[in-house]
Structure formats: C-alpha cells, structure tokens
C-alpha cells in the first residue's frame, strides 16, 4: 500500500515565470510608451481643447485645466518620468552602493571618511540647495535626475554599509582575501551578492521617490513647469482643483502609472529574488 505523496513545498515553476513575464511585459509597455509616445498618443499633448472635460470617446481621460488631453499627457509623461525615475535611482543607488560597500569593507579610516562625507550629504539642507540650483541652472529634467541622484544616495550608503560590515567579517571574505583577489573583486563579487536583497528594495523605493520628488521640486520652483511628467500632472491636478472637484480621471492615472511602473521594477526585483530563493532552496 502506498502512502499519500508528501506535499511538495515549492510552488510551480510555471507560476514563477509568469510573474516575471508580467514584470518584463509591464516594463516593456512603459518603455514602448515612452519611446513611441508620438505614435501612440491620440493627440498632441500640447494641443488645447476645452478645459476640464470629463472622459469621453474623444478624450478617454478627459482634459486638464489647460484643455490638454490627459491620456496623451500621460503617454508623453512617461518619457520624463521614466528618465528621471530610473536615471536618478540608478545614480543614487550606484553611488550609495559604492560608498556603503567600500566603507563597510575597508572599515577604519576609509569608513570614517566615507561616512563623514555621507553625513555631510545627508544633512545638506536639500530644499535650499535646490532653490539655489534652480536660480543658476537652466531648467531641464536631466538636471533634476542628476540633482535627485546626487542627493538621494545617502541612506542607501548607510544601509549598505551596515550590512556589508556584517558580511565582510565572514570567513568566505577572508578566504577570498587570502586567495589574493583584489579588494574590488571581493567587494563586488563576494560582498555585493550577499547584500543585494537590501539594495533591490532600496532601488525600487528610489525610483518611486525620484518620480514623486520631481513633482515636488517644481512646487518649490525648480524645473520647467511646461515639461510633461506624471509627477507634474499630479501636481497640477492638485493645484488646479482636481481633487476638490473630484476629477479622479485627472489625478488617479498618473498616480497609477507611477505605481505600475514601480511595480514592474519591483516585480523584476522579485523575480530575481525568487530565482535566487529557488537556487538557495528557501521558501
């Protein structure tokens, strides 16, 4: 007589690949939106129709206070938002990662110096600095991405450092040192893979933060207000009565777009995570 088969713990492989497929698809959709905005958008986003129109066949998401077609704005907005979000997040994560890894690995004086710099950056009053830059720089969104990137790396650095302090004490790091691997090699191939789980969420969060910050920066006066981005759309939806008149088709879609884009990044992160969990055999 056969006993019932033991339940297998891991979910089906098919389901896993499905969610990573979804992530890739979602990500690509946004990418294509950004690339082919001029083909996909039903209208020129700067063309003015009647303002404050509710959704209709002609304007799926209605029009905004200037009479711009919101759907087209949304599609064009992906360009700036993706650029700013990803650009700033990549920059911030890269800087933060390097600083954190080096500080955690070398310890001692290097650590003190790097963390000192981090502290300074951390406490630089950001808004004044941004106002300062706004007055002297020509407004453009890649400057915004740069500014956010250069200011938002500090917490990543500190988080990475705290973890890499832990990891760099482990025997396998000693072992690599002894084999004569260069410090760079050890940092990036030994320590980094062992802290990636913290960097991934940090990166995702930075993407979202950058997209949103870009909008609040314009609130403070930095940036070109006529530039179309999701953050900007939300910003105008609020300053121009979107919420008070419950024009949800105006402020919800850009919010959703940010959310879904970040979600696609998150899903990508998760499929990485799952792949790793699968090989490590943990659930």
């Amino acid at each position: 007589m056969k006993k019932p088969a033991l339940p297998r713990q891991n979910g089906s492989a098919q389901k896993k690949s499905l969610s990573s497929l979804l992530a890739v698809v979602l990500f690509l959709v946004f990418f294509i939106l950004a690339l082919c905005a001029n083909i996909i958008a039903p209208h020129d986003p700067w063309e003015r129709f009647d303002p404050y129109l509710p959704p209709s066949v002609e304007h799926w998401l209605g029009t905004n206070d200037l009479g711009h077609d919101i759907l087209s704005e949304l599609i064009y907005g992906s360009r700036v938002s993706l650029l700013v979000g990803l650009g700033a997040a990549v920059l911030a994560t890269a800087i933060g990662l390097c600083v954190g890894l080096f500080a955690g690995y070398y310890k001692g004086v290097t650590d003190e110096i790097l963390m000192g710099i981090t502290d300074v950056f951390l406490m630089i009053p950001r808004i004044p600095l941004i106002i300062l830059l706004a007055a002297f720089l020509k407004p453009s969104f890649w400057i915004i991405a740069l500014v956010i990137g250069f200011l938002w790396w500090t917490s990543t650095a500190r988080v990475v450092r705290s973890k890499s302090l832990q990891v760099s004490e482990m025997n396998f790091v000693l072992s690599s040192k002894c084999l004569g691997f260069s410090d760079k090699h050890i940092i990036f191939t030994d320590i980094f893979p062992n802290i990636i789980q913290i960097v991934i969420p940090k990166f995702m969060l930075t993407v979202a933060a950058a997209m949103i910050t870009e909008a609040s920066l314009s609130f403070l006066g930095l940036g070109d207000p006529s530039m179309k981005s999701w953050g900007m759309m939300i910003n105008f939806a609020f300053t121009k009565g979107g919420l008070i008149n419950a024009l949800w088709w105006w402020f919800i879609p850009p919010g959703l777009c940010i959310m879904f884009f970040v979600y696609s990044v998150v899903l990508l992160g998760y499929s990485l995570e799952e792949k790793e969990q699968a090989v490590l055999g943990i659930s």
Binding site: M170, N171, F172, L174, S175, S176, K177, C178, L179, G180, F181, H185, T189, D190, P193, N194, E276, V279, L280, G281
Partner: protein
C-alpha cells in the same frame, strides 16, 4: 641560494576590549617558528588554544598584537605592493570551516573560475584545468553548478582545498583539512598533499588534532598549549 621560508617571530595575540587591559586576554604569546619550502610543520593543540588564530596570522589575514611574519626574509608588514601580491599568492590557508569559507551566492564553478581568472589562465584552457583539479580532489562534474549549502561537509572541504591548490602556492596553512572527510577520502587527500609537496616543494603548516595525521604528514611537530608553542620530536 636563499631558500624560501615563512617565519613567525614573537607572535602574540590578544582578544578583548582594546583599551582595558583587564579584559584583554592573550591567546598567543611569543610564538616563533620557521617553515621551509617542502617541509611540513604539524601543529597540535587543544580546542580553543589558538591554532586557527595562529594560522590566520601567519597567512597574513589577521593582525598580530605583537610580532611579525617574515616571508622570504622580509616582514610582510613592509612588503611593497608587488611583493605583497606575490606573498598573497604564495601563502594560502584552508579554513577549518569549509562551508563558511565559500561564498554562499557562488556556485562551485564560479568559485573556481574566478581563481582561474585570477591566476591568468587563458579562457579556453580554463575548463580543462578546472576539470583536472576537480578530479584531483575527487569531485565529479555534477558539482559545478551547486551552491555551497548544496554540498556535503566533505565536498565543501574538497572545493576549498582545490581552490587553494590551483594557485600553486609555496606555503599552505591547512587548518584541519580533513576533519569533514571520511577516512578513505582523508587518506586520498593526505596522499595527494604529500604528492604535491614532493612535486612542487610546498611547505605546509598542518593544524590538526589527530596525532596520526600529524605524525604521518609532519616533519616537525609542535604543540600549542596555553598560548605557547613547544616543539616535540
């Protein structure tokens, strides 16, 4: 010709809070010895006497509180960058805890490949060298794609050893190299080590608690007790 040697001079090591001397505990005190190429020094000692610590200090990956290590006559503290890199390649250690000394996020293959890359083996030859080494330490190809936690204790130990052997070092510090191996494999590995020593004139510092292994392998035997090293015949 000046013979290549690894020498420890007056090594002391204290653990505990740096400043308050009360809490400082000396694990090693005034230890000196010298190992020549091609020679095996066996070190025995009770658990927790500081064998591993001594090994790490000699390998240059832990700082001694006092004392110096000399490689080929030069203190390793004062080595130039190039010389240090050479020392780094030529003096290796195999850790007691084999799984801990392998990166949990790297497959066996990757662990090996990176060493091969490090020592500058051309890409096309790497596969061959790798398989050779696997065979030498008695692992099959199946293991290439495994992560350390997917290996048994002994298999981990073999990987760790194989990786070090690839470097063709002059000195290897072996910290309980066969503790996780069954006796047959242990025998294989010990023979292998002896063979390599004969071929390549490697100097071993063999740390083990097993008298038989030590006496089988070592030319000289020292016992570590209460922080001091005593040579026995």
């Amino acid at each position: 010709m000046f013979s290549l040697s690894l020498k420890a001079e007056n090594i002391s090591k204290a653990y505990g809070n740096g400043r308050s001397s009360k809490k400082r505990r000396y694990v090693l005190e005034d230890i000196s010895f010298e190992v020549q190429k091609g020679e095996t020094l066996g070190i025995m000692g009770e658990s927790g006497t500081g064998k591993t610590t001594l090994g790490k200090i000699v390998a240059g990956i832990e700082k001694a509180t006092r004392g110096e290590i000399f490689f080929a006559g030069n203190s390793i503290e004062e080595l130039s960058k190039i010389d240090y890199a050479r020392f780094r390649k030529k003096v290796q250690i195999v850790f007691q805890n084999p799984e801990g000394s392998l990166n949990p996020k790297k497959t066996v293959e990757k662990s090996f490949q990176q060493v091969l890359e490090l020592i500058g083996i051309p890409t096309e030859k790497r596969g061959e060298v790798l398989l050779d080494m696997l065979q030498t330490v008695g692992l099959s190809e199946d293991f290439l794609c495994r992560y350390p936690h997917q290996l048994s204790g002994g298999q981990n130990q073999k990987v760790a050893l194989g990786r070090v052997l690839l470097l063709e070092p002059d000195f290897i510090i072996l910290d309980e190299p066969t503790s996780a191996l069954d006796i047959s494999v242990q025998a294989q590995i010990l023979h292998l080590l002896k063979e390599w020593q004969a071929q390549k004139e490697i100097g071993y510092i063999l740390i083990s608690h097993e008298r038989e292994i030590i006496s089988f392998m070592a030319d000289r035997i020292a016992v570590l007790k209460e922080g001091r090293l005593a040579f026995t015949s």
